[in-house]
């Protein structure tokens, strides 16, 4: 080192060095310049030293003041301003002072950089901390959101699983994204197995697949759904077709169509129930229609029978007075035959309309069937051949002939409807005996002797499912409006009412045979009649009160009875009958009364006058009755009835039968 001045003192240099050394240890940047300046003030020749910011500096330093810039490169840290009291003493130290000021600049810059670095480091740490906190928050929020989403997902899945509806999400290609438990149960798949499968292949019947897929593809392509609500069918795990009411929406994510969302409610049962209800309503309408027809037929038959009774009665009375060789006799015979045929027609009409009073009697089934053939032929039409094969030596049965009509009419109508266009219906009768061995091998058969009445056709036949139901009320295989579903039910009921049973044999395409088994009648009461022997017309001397609101019938009935020797009192209505009854207390043996009369019906009249005539019998007559004397068409026990019109013979026989019968009132 070269000393510029001999006055250079070592202790001063030591101070300058110490300042430099100590300054480096001072942590506070703002204290650094003060420390240095305070030290410089002790340098010989310097009266005072201070640090000034650059902006505070005067443009030109005054005399005795030296400005030492605190500068390093482009960085300025103001100036150290020295007030020089003794320039000569100061001069030797000037370079050291200048050096110290440079060192000050170095330290300030280093402090500044350190401060900057510290600030930067602090900022960096702050940012890291903040970001860490944000990340922690984000992670926490994400985990919370994930937990919530998971909970929501599980809840949604639970809803999906308990939903009664089938919930379905498809991607744009029709593959299953989500199918809920209900859907999986219906289709017999697990959710995992269903996922990714083509919905249309999995669930839609082949014959409908293309059409349903086309609807889906149109909705996806158009990004709108013209089929938001519609019904379509799927095939369930058992292969059964199930109809679902669908609600469909196009599924969008960020505005882009990604598939569809659908919910479907199984309406198969509801549809079936609605169909059943409609069918039942139709059947009810048919039944009501039949009921109306029956009432109409009954009403017509009543008046018609009354008129027939007059015609028949007068013609019969007239023919009795006429010489068989006279031309008039032949005319009267024609009138009688026509009237009888008309009477048959009326009876059959009532039978068909189920308005006939059931009055079981012993009869020959061959005769009963033979008497119906004409009507049956009209019923089945000309295209179908009707074969009648009566069995030989047929046993008698006991039942109302009208019920035979009903059975035959219904079985023939069924047979006719089973034949598409042309065919053959065969009616047969046989004697049939079933022993226990036979019945053990054949269900529904009962032991005993029976008369078999069978009706066979060569029509379409029936499968087993249909056979199992044919006797159920309202079951029908016929087209709407063609059948009531009551016919075979009625046959079944009638046959059972008469202690018989029905057997059916049928095969699809091979025709059907209905066999009605009626128990053999083993009594003898009317065997003679069945044998066709002509009975003499019964006569009597008893007193009979005839009550009839139709004057013509009253006249003819009176004539018929008087012809047989009876004393006949007449009344045109109930009031008149009561008066006559009162006038002849105890003197009337038989009350022959119409059933349906204005003001008081025949039954009530009989009850009214009975107390005055202890032994009086009652015989009702009618062309048609409501339930006045019968319940469900069957006569009350002890009730006697004669159907109008009647002949002299039948009336006389019935009157005699009632008068001679034990008191069964």
């Amino acid at each position: 080192m070269t000393f510029p001045d001999q006055e250079l003192r070592a202790d001063v240099l030591a101070r300058l060095l110490l300042i430099q050394s100590m300054a480096g240890q001072l942590p506070r940047t703002e204290a650094l310049a003060d420390f240095v300046c305070r030290g410089l003030a002790q340098v010989p020749g310097i009266a005072h030293a201070w640090h000034a910011a650059e902006t505070e500096l005067p443009v030109a330093a005054p005399a005795g003041v030296e400005r030492v810039p605190v500068r390093l490169g482009a960085h300025h840290y103001g100036e150290v301003v020295l007030r020089i009291a003794d320039p000569d003493r100061y001069r030797p130290y000037a370079p050291y002072v200048a050096n110290l000021v440079v060192m000050l600049a170095v330290m300030l810059q280093e402090r500044g950089q350190r401060t900057l670095q510290e600030a930067y480091q602090e900022e960096l740490e702050r940012r890291v901390a903040e970001r860490t906190r944000e990340l922690s928050e984000e992670v926490r929020e994400r985990r919370t959101a994930e937990a919530q989403a998971l909970a929501e997902k599980r809840r949604a899945e639970a809803y999906l699983d308990i939903a009664e509806a089938l919930i379905l999400e498809l991607d744009a290609d029709g593959r299953i994204v989500v199918l809920n438990q209900r859907g999986c149960d219906l289709l017999g798949v697990t959710p995992d197995a269903a996922r990714g499968q083509d919905w249309f292949e999995l669930a839609i019947a082949p014959e409908e697949r293309d059409a349903v897929r086309a609807v889906f593809e149109r909705a996806i392509a158009a990004a709108e759904n013209p089929y938001e609500y519609y019904d379509s069918a799927i095939v369930d795990r058992s292969g059964a077709r199930r109809v679902l009411a669908w609600h469909n929406i196009v599924h969008r994510v960020d505005g882009r169509v990604v598939g569809s969302l659908s919910s479907g409610i199984d309406i198969t049962a509801r549809q079936q129930a609605e169909a059943d209800k409609r069918a039942l309503e139709a059947q009810l309408r048919d039944a009501q229609k039949l009921e109306s027809l029956g009432r109409l037929a009954g009403g017509v038959a009543h008046d018609f029978n009354n008129m027939l009774a007059v015609i028949l009665g007068h013609a019969e009375l007239a023919i009795r007075e006429t010489d068989p060789d006279a031309p008039l006799y032949r005319d009267l015979e024609e009138i009688l035959e026509a009237a009888n045929r008309s009477s048959d027609l009326t009876r059959q009409l009532l039978a068909f309309a189920r308005r006939q009073i059931v009055s079981p009697r012993v009869l020959d089934l061959n005769e009963a069937v033979g008497g119906m053939l004409k009507m049956l032929r009209r019923l089945i039409g000309e295209d179908i051949d009707l074969a009648w094969m009566p069995g030989a030596r047929l046993w008698p049965v006991e039942m109302d002939p009208s019920q035979v009509d009903q059975i035959l009419a219904n079985l023939c109508v069924n047979a006719r409807d089973a034949i598409a266009d042309v065919g053959k219906i065969t009616i047969e009768t046989h004697r049939q005996v079933f022993d226990e061995d036979y019945c053990a091998a054949h269900a529904n058969f009962r032991t005993g002797e029976y008369v078999k009445l069978s009706v066979s056709d060569d029509g379409c036949g029936m499968d087993k499912a249909t056979l199992a139901q044919i006797f159920e009320p309202f079951f029908t295989t016929k087209a709407y409006g063609k059948g009531t579903g009551l016919g075979l039910a009625m046959v079944h009921g009638v046959v059972h009412q008469n202690n018989g049973f029905v057997n059916v044999y049928s095969e699809p395409g091979a025709g059907t045979t209905f066999s009605v088994y009626l128990p053999r009648y083993t009594g003898t009461a009317e065997r003679s009649a069945l044998d066709g022997a002509v009975e003499p017309t019964p006569t009597g001397l008893e007193t009979i009160l005839v009550v009839e609101d139709e004057p013509a019938i009253l006249v003819v009935a009176t004539k018929m009875l008087r012809l047989q020797g009876y004393t006949v009192l007449t009344a045109r209505n109930a009031a008149e009958a009561i008066r006559v009854s009162n006038e002849n207390a105890g003197g009337i043996d038989l009350l022959l009364t119409d059933v349906v009369m204005p003001e008081m019906n025949g039954r009530d009249l009989a009850k009214h006058v009975a107390p005055l005539h202890a032994s009086m019998k009652v015989l009702f007559m009618s062309g048609y009755t409501a339930n006045v004397i019968a319940h469900q068409g069957v006569l009350d026990p002890g009730t006697h009835f004669i159907q109008k019109p009647f002949s002299v013979q039948s009336l006389a026989a019935k009157v005699r039968e009632v008068l001679d019968g034990v008191d069964d009132a």
Binding site: L26, P27, A31, D34, V36, C37, Q42
Partner: protein
């Protein structure tokens, strides 16, 4: 009391100094301060000196730990009267004011008590609070420190004054240097080129 001018082991340096040396430490880190404080105290107690500490820099527990490492017991040293502990506030600002005369009297008593107790020497370390300027009498700090130099000539108590360079302004620190004959630089004790004898020192108020 010893008469050897270089008998005193300061504890934190191998350099021995005469009894009654007045040393200044401008520190910038707590560890730097604590290192000097603990070593100074331990060195004094190891030498059987009367030792006093007016600092909050270390806790009693830290002090006890440091003493234990040197085979000393804090409790025992305090109980034996060899170690006096007091907070700077209680010592420097007793009664709410800074009183140089009281401080000089206390220093005198401390020395005399040590002599009376037969201690080989006496030492004290204290930390001055930067709040001194706000206390009545605070402006007399340099005067006090300068008078301490004079007192120590007759009552040789080895004293170390610690100043926190982070809390004092630069001018004050330079002023402090001017009243301490020796100073700690880089862990060593050096003669202070800025030191001014009490006679040289111009009267100057603290900023």
């Amino acid at each position: 009391m010893g008469t050897d001018d270089t008998a005193i082991d300061l504890g934190f340096t191998s350099m021995r100094v005469p009894a009654g040396t007045h040393v200044c430490q401008l520190y910038a880190e707590d560890d730097e301060r604590n290192e000097v404080l603990l070593r100074f105290l331990t060195g004094g107690l190891r030498g059987g000196e009367a030792t006093a500490c007016f600092s909050d820099g270390v806790s009693e527990a830290e002090l006890a730990t440091a003493l234990t490492r040197s085979g000393l017991s804090l409790e025992a040293e305090v109980a034996a009267g060899r170690l006096s502990l007091a907070s700077p506030a209680a010592v420097y600002f007793e009664g709410g004011r800074f009183d140089p005369e009281r401080m000089l009297a206390r220093l005198t008593s401390f020395h005399d008590d040590a002599v009376a107790a037969g201690r080989p020497a006496a030492r004290v370390i204290g930390e001055m609070s930067p709040e001194i300027g706000s206390f009545p009498g605070g402006s007399r700090l340099l005067e006090y420190e300068s008078r301490v130099n004079r007192l120590l000539c007759t009552h040789p108590v080895t004293a170390v004054c610690q100043y926190d360079a982070r809390r004092f302004d630069g001018a004050t620190l330079m002023d402090v240097l001017s009243v301490h004959p020796m100073m700690i630089v880089g862990g060593g004790v050096v003669y202070n080129p800025f030191y001014m004898t009490p006679e040289e020192l111009p009267r100057r108020d603290l900023p």
